[in-house]
């Protein structure tokens, strides 16, 4: 069985699970057609290419159209490769749906986090900042970034301002609360990266414990 599926984050809600209120994210995932199969003989490794979401006709370029004509499948908005174990068989005609997670307790969700642009240390790293009154003069500044002549340099990895968000983030080991095959919905516990409507990739978790 293939281990991943593409989807779209619908948003968050909360649910009662065993009498307790838990936060949950609803993701519309699949069905994902298999667009291409890569084999060890031909490509050196074993994988499948899956797609998700319809693409506007005016946005389709010629290579995409050619490939679609060849494999007889619609052009998809998002295409992603999922590695398979060598020798693992897949049914190309059958689309992947959320049912692949039917007996999976927890999943990893990969997405691109909300972009916050070039952010200062208070927003990006949670620095306290300085005092606003009494002549504070450094309300949101980073402060000192190192010592003196010894070591004579700023240590690597020092938390500084910079690009925050818009980065690929993997949330690991999210508990699967519910699966609705008919509506292609998967509900996981907690949050997943990205805005509502953002594309995510879901795979069964490889994190132990």
């Amino acid at each position: 069985m293939a281990t991943g599926i593409l989807g779209k984050k619908l948003g968050m809600t909360h649910l009662f699970v065993d009498g307790k209120l838990v936060p949950a994210t609803v993701i519309e995932a699949g069905p994902c057609p298999i667009l291409q199969v890569k084999t060890v003989e031909k490509d050196g490794y074993s994988a499948i290419q899956i797609g998700f979401g319809d693409k506007k006709k005016s946005r389709i370029n010629k290579p995409e159209a050619g490939k679609a004509a060849k494999n007889g499948k619609a052009v998809k908005q998002v295409v992603r490769e999922v590695r398979l174990d060598d020798g693992q068989e897949v049914d190309v005609e059958k689309d992947l749906d959320v049912n692949i997670f039917a007996d999976v307790a927890s999943v990893d969700v990969v997405g691109v986090s909300k972009g916050r642009g070039f952010s200062g240390v208070v927003k990006r790293w949670g620095f306290g900042g300085g005092r606003a009154s009494h002549g504070g003069d450094w309300e949101r500044k980073p402060g000192s970034i190192g010592m003196c002549a010894d070591p004579g340099k700023t240590i690597k990895g020092k938390k500084m301002p910079g690009q925050y968000g818009n980065k690929r983030i993997t949330m690991r080991n999210l508990q699967v609360l519910e699966i609705d095959v008919e509506k292609s919905l998967i509900v996981v516990k907690g949050g997943v990266p990205g805005p509502k409507g953002g594309h995510v990739f879901i795979r069964s978790t490889n994190k132990l414990g």
């Binding site: 619908l10 809600t13 919905l185």
Partner: protein
Amino acid sequence: MIMNKLEQYKKEKQTYDAPSFCIGDTVDVSLKITEGNKERIQVFTGTVIALNAAKTNGSFTVRHLHQGQGVEKVFPLGSESIQKIEVKRRGDVRRAKLYYLRDRQGKAVRVREKI
């Protein structure tokens, strides 16, 4: 489009009907409390100062004065811990949120009764 599917899902999951109490009512909320493997019922009495029932995943806030000290509890509507909500007294109020009660003490905390 995106919101619709989420709202639809929330609607399906909604476990409660429109509440029988209103803002300003004095209510007895019977809560199931689990301690170890024992269960008991605790009653929290107070004035409903906020009620978000229009949307799915609604909640309500009950304010109680304990020895002059205000205590507020926010309950999610449809919670399985709530065994019973009993309206003791109907309140006659002109506001949707009674947050002004937080600034008051003694006799000023009273809410007029609806007759």
